[in-house]
Symmetry: D2
Subunit: 340 residues, 4 copies
C-alpha cells in the first residue's frame, strides 16, 4: 500500500512531528511503514495486514491519498500511478508516452573529430540526445576501457554548444560525483542491473537515470531495481530493454520484444529499447528497431558512428550515418501509423 | 555444393543412366553425392573436398548450374537460391515476399457453429486462410485432444464452400494420409520440430507444410529441419517463429523477433510469425503482432475465436472478432509504410 | 484422485457392468472419470470437485483404495504410489531403487566386430545392458542414420547369446512393431520427449521404456510425458536426465543434477542419468557420472566404444574400454558409501 | 603470452629502468605489453603477433620464463600455471586441491546468540570457516538488509576467539576499507560477478577473495572476472559455482555441475560449490552437495543455521545443525573414495 501525504512544499528530510504521529498510528494498525523521501515529495510505503480496511487509513490526518498495490514493487507500479510519467532532461528533451525519443551515438567516445561528426549527424536528423561511453565495462581487463573524465568534459562542452543532451554509463558510486556536472542523464548498464549500492546512490542524484535490464533479469527483478532508485529519492527513471541471454547464439542477445507491452502495463515509467545490443549485428538492427517502435516503446537508443569498422568497441553492431538516417526516416514514418 | 541438373521434365524416381554416369564422375572427384528428388526437379547435394575447383563440376555433362553453399543446410539456404521462394496454396492464396499473408482461427476446432462464425469473420476482414486444430498435442493425457477426422471433414466442406483454405497440425505420420484430402496446408508443431520421421514423410506429400520452430531449437537446427522436408521432396515450405523458451516466465514464451531478419537472410523460404503462442497473453498479442510485421515477416498466424473465454484450449491468448478486426486493420496500415 | 479397483485378474479391455456402474456413481458425485487400463490392472483417474469427501468414494462397491494426488500428473506421482517401482527386463536385469543399474555401449551400432568387442568389454566389467542406436535422429539429413533393422537383428542375436539385454531408440510408431522382437527396452530420445503419439503407442507395448528428458522440457512436462505412456497401459517406465539446453556453450548440454533429487521425490519411477550427452566431452564424463551417482540416481547410461576417435557418431563424448573400466570401478566404490 | 620476470624481491610499484628497457624491446617485437603487479611479483601480459618466435622473448634480459596462453584470460589460466594454486587464510585454513575445505553458516548474521550457536556447531563438526552476510543484496529495497558493520565486529571477535575464520560478502568498493580488518576472506556475490570496478578494487586488497559465478555468466566471462582481480594484484582467489538461471523453475537455480571439471581444467585456482543457492530447497541440498564433491570440487560453502524456519533470509535452503552434521559426515566418507 502507498500513502501519499498532504505536503505543500518539498519534504524536509527529517520527519515532521505530524508525520511521526501518523506513522505511529499506522503501526498501531499493524502496518510496517517505510517512509520514502524523493526529490519531489514524501510517501509512506506500507506492508499491511491482509484484511486491513483501506478506509481506516484514508481517514487519518495528513493523508492525501491511499493506493492498494499488490505488486511487490510499489512506487514504480502502474497500480499506484496510472498516468504515464514523463522524464524531463531540460530544453525540450524528454521521455514521455506518445513521443518517441531517440538517443544515438557511438559505443565509446574516442576523440574530438568523432564527437564533431556525430553531433553534426544528430543535428541533421533531428536527434537531441547523444549516447557514448567514457568508462566502458569490458569483459577482459586488457580491452580498451574508455577515455575517462577528460574526454567527457570535452564531449559535454561540444554537445552543450550544439544544444544536444548527453547520456553516459556510470560504473560505480565513486564516479557519480565526478560525472555529475557533465552528463544530462546517467545510464546504468546491464552488468550493474542488480548493483543495489549503485542504484540506491543514484536515487540521491538530481539527474535522470536510464536503467538497462540485466542479461538474465526477469521483469520483476527489473522493476525491483527501478524501485531501488525511486525509493532512494529519484523519480526520473527510464527503463531500457536491451536483449536477454538465451540458448540462441545466432545473435549477441535476444531482444525480448514481449517485454515492451508487459512493462508498459506494469509501470508508469517510460520504456525504451536498445536494438543495437539486443541483436548485435549491424545489418539486422533496423528490422528490430522498427519492431520495437511498432510494439509501442517510448524511445530507442542506437549505436551510430562515423566509421563503424574502425570503432574502438562494438563496431559490428553500429550503424553508419547513412544507415542511421535511413532508419530514422523509417521510424518516423512508422510512428505516424502507430498510435501510442 | 548443390548441382542442378538439366531436366526438361519432372525427374523419374529412378536415376537415369546419364545421371548415374554423372554421379560416378563426381565421386571420382572425391565428392560424396546425395541425389535429392523433389516434386519439381532433381538436385545433387555434394560434400566436396575443400580445394575442389568448382568449374570442374560445371563443365560436366548434364549439369545446368553449380552453387557453393557453405551453410550445413543446403537446399533451403539463400546462398543457393537467392530469390525468395513463394508457396502457393491455390486459388490465389500464397505466401511470398512482399505480400503479408494472414492465417487466423481458433486453437481447437470445436463445432459447426464455431466454424461458421469464424469463417464469416474471416470473410469480413479479407483473410483467406483458416487455422484450427483437430488433433491437439496436449501436455496432459487427460486434456481435450481434438475433434478428430470427422470434425475436419465438416470444417473442410464449409471452408471450401466459402473459398477459404485450411491449415491444421499433423501429429504423426499415420495421420498424413487420412488428413491429406481435407487440408490445404499441413502444420508441424513446435513439439515435433525435430521429429525427423514425420518431417521426412511430409517431404513426400504434394501439399505445402508450415514448420514451426521448436521451443529450444536454434536457427541452425530449424533450417536443418526444413532441409529434411525439402530434401525428401517437398519444396513448398513456410517457416514459423512462435516464441522460444527462456528464463522469463512473465509470458508463455519469448517471441524471438531477432529470428525474423536472421532467417530472412539465411533462407529463401517464407518466414511468418505466430504472435499468439509467442506471448500467450491476449491483450499483448497486438503489440507483438505489429512488431513482427515491422521486422519484415511474410505473414502471421493468429488465434481468433468467437468467445475466447469459452474456448476449449488456449483461450487466454485468443483474440475475439472485434480485437482481430482492429488488429488486422492496424497491420495493413503498418504494412503500407514498411517496404519488404 | 486415483481409484484402484478390486480386480483379482488382469482387467478385460471392455469395462465390466460393475465397473460401469461404479463410474456412473462417481459421475453422480461430479467427478470426471478417465478409466486407465494398464497391462497390470485398471485404475480410474478422477478430476473431482474441490470439496469432495474422499470417504464417499472409498465406500463405493468395487473400490479397493483411493488416493488424493494434487500433482497434475497422476499415476507416475509418488503422492499416489509411495514405494519405488522397479522395472524388470528379465534374467535378473532390472532398474530399482538401491541397485545402480548400468547400461553402456556405442552411440551407433556399426558392425559385427564392434558389437563383439563391446559385448566382451561389458562382460569383463559386469554390465548386462547394452545401448546402441540403429535408427539415429540426426540434425542433418545428410548424416549417417544408422544400420537399421538388419544390424539390430545381428546385434540382438549376439547379445542374447552373451546374456546381455539391449536397449535402442525408437523414432516413430511405424518402427515399434519391427523392432519389438529384437529389443529388451525401447528408448525415447530427447527430440521425441513430447511426441505424444509415440508415447501413447509405447503404452501398448509389453516391454520397458526408457524416456529421456527433452532439451528444454521442465520436470512437470517430463512427468506428464511419462503419464502418457503409463496411462496408455505400460507401467514399466524409467526416466533419464540427459542434460538441458542453457546459455552455456562450454559443453554440449548442461547436466541438470538438481533433477535427480527433485524427480526421485515426485515420482515412484526409477531415475537414471546419461552423463555422456549431458556434458558431451569425453574427458569430463567421469566427473559428472560420479556426481550423478552421489546425487542418488538409480542407474547410468554411458557411451562406450572400442575406438571413440573412429566412431560414426558422438565419438567426442564416448569412453574407450580402459576409461570405461576405470570409471565403473570408481562408481562401484562410490556406491558403497552412498546409501540410497 | 605471459612473461615472468627475474625478481628477487617483491616488485616496486614503479617499473625499474631494466623493466622499462625490456618492455621497449618487446614493443619493438610488435607486442602490446600490459605490466601486471601483484602482491607477489610482476608479470608482463603480452598481446603478440601470431607468428612471433617465442624464443626471441625467452632470450631477453630479465626474463625468467615465457608461457604461451591461447585463452583470452591469461593469469588465471592453467595453460600458464599448470600446478594448482592454493589460497591460504592463515592458521591452517586454506583452499587447495586434494583438501576439501568446508565453509558453513547462516545466510544473514542476526544476533549474538545465533553466532554462538553456529560457532559451537562448526567446532563440533570440525569446520574452521564461517560464512554469513552482514550487508545483504536483496531484490526488494523493503527487505532486511543486514546487521552491518557493528554486527560484523561482534561476529569477528567471537570467531577469532574460537579459532574460526570468517567470510562475508562485500557489495561495493566503499565497504572494502571498513570491512577489511574484520574479515578473513571477501566474497563477491553473483549479482556483482561483472562489477568490474569492485573486482579491480579487490585486486588491491591483501586478503583472499571468493568470487561467485553470476546467474548467467559463462565460464569464459567468469574466468575473465577472476582475471580482473588477479591482474589488479590479488592472486588469492577462489571460484564458486552457485547455480545458473535456466528455463527450469522447479528449483531456485540450476547447479551447473559440468562447470566443476570444466573449470578445474581451465584454471589453476581452487573451485568450490555452493549447493544451498544452487538448488534452493533444503531437503535437496545434501544430494547436490555430495554430487559436487564427487565431481571433484575443492570445497563447499553451506547455509546452516540454528532454526532455519526462523532465519531472516533464505531459510528455505538452510540446513539445521542435525542435517549439517549428517551431511558433513557423508561428505567426508565420500571424499575418502574420490581421489582428487
Amino acid at each position: 500500500m502507498i500513502v501519499q501525504l498532504h505536503l505543500d512544499s518539498p519534504p524536509a528530510v527529517e520527519l515532521t512531528p505530524e508525520e511521526s504521529t501518523l506513522i505511529k498510528k499506522l503501526e498501531g494498525l499493524q502496518c510496517r511503514v517505510t517512509p520514502v523521501t524523493t526529490q519531489r515529495t514524501r510517501y509512506l510505503v506500507l506492508d499491511t495486514p491482509k484484511d486491513l480496511d483501506i478506509r481506516k487509513i484514508g481517514h487519518l490526518e495528513g493523508v492525501r491519498d491511499v493506493h492498494r498495490v499488490t505488486a511487490p514493487y510499489k512506487l514504480v507500479s502502474r497500480e499506484w500511478r496510472v498516468a504515464p510519467s514523463s522524464v524531463d532532461l531540460g530544453d525540450g528533451v524528454s521521455f514521455e508516452e506518445g513521443a518517441l525519443t531517440l538517443a544515438a551515438g557511438p559505443c565509446s567516445i574516442e576523440d574530438e573529430d568523432q564527437i564533431d561528426q556525430v553531433i553534426e549527424h544528430l543535428q541533421s536528423v533531428g536527434v537531441s540526445l547523444m549516447r557514448g561511453g567514457v568508462y566502458k565495462p569490458r569483459t577482459s581487463p586488457y580491452s580498451f576501457r574508455g577515455v575517462g573524465l577528460e574526454g567527457l568534459r570535452m564531449w559535454h562542452e561540444k554537445a552543450q554548444a550544439a544544444g544536444i543532451k548527453i547520456i553516459t554509463e556510470v560504473l560505480a558510486t565513486e564516479q557519480i560525483e565526478a560525472l555529475h556536472d557533465y552528463v544530462d542523464m546517467f545510464q546504468v548498464g546491464a552488468r550493474n542491473a542488480q548493483n543495489f549500492t549503485l542504484l540506491a546512490e543514484l536515487g540521491k542524484v538530481d539527474k535522470p537515470v536510464l536503467l538497462k535490464r540485466g542479461m538474465s533479469t526477469t521483469l520483476d527483478e527489473f522493476l525491483h531495481a527501478a524501485e531501488y532508485v525511486f525509493s532512494s529519492g529519484n523519480e526520473k527513471l527510464v527503463l531500457c530493454e536491451r536483449g536477454i541471454r538465451t540458448f540462441e547464439r545466432a545473435y549477441r542477445n535476444t531482444l525480448d520484444i514481449n517485454a515492451v507491452p508487459a512493462l508498459k502495463e506494469r509501470t508508469h515509467l517510460p520504456v525504451i529499447v536498445d536494438p543495437s545490443h539486443a541483436i548485435g549485428v549491424r545489418r539486422w538492427v533496423p528490422a528490430v528497431a522498427l519492431a520495437a517502435v511498432a510494439a509501442g516503446c517510448d524511445g530507442l537508443i542506437l549505436e551510430v558512428a562515423p566509421v563503424p569498422e574502425r570503432a574502438f568497441s562494438d563496431g559490428q553492431q553500429t550503424l553508419n550515418f547513412e544507415e542511421s538516417k535511413r532508419l530514422i526516416e523509417k521510424i518516423r514514418k512508422l510512428r505516424e501509423v502507430i498510435e501510442p
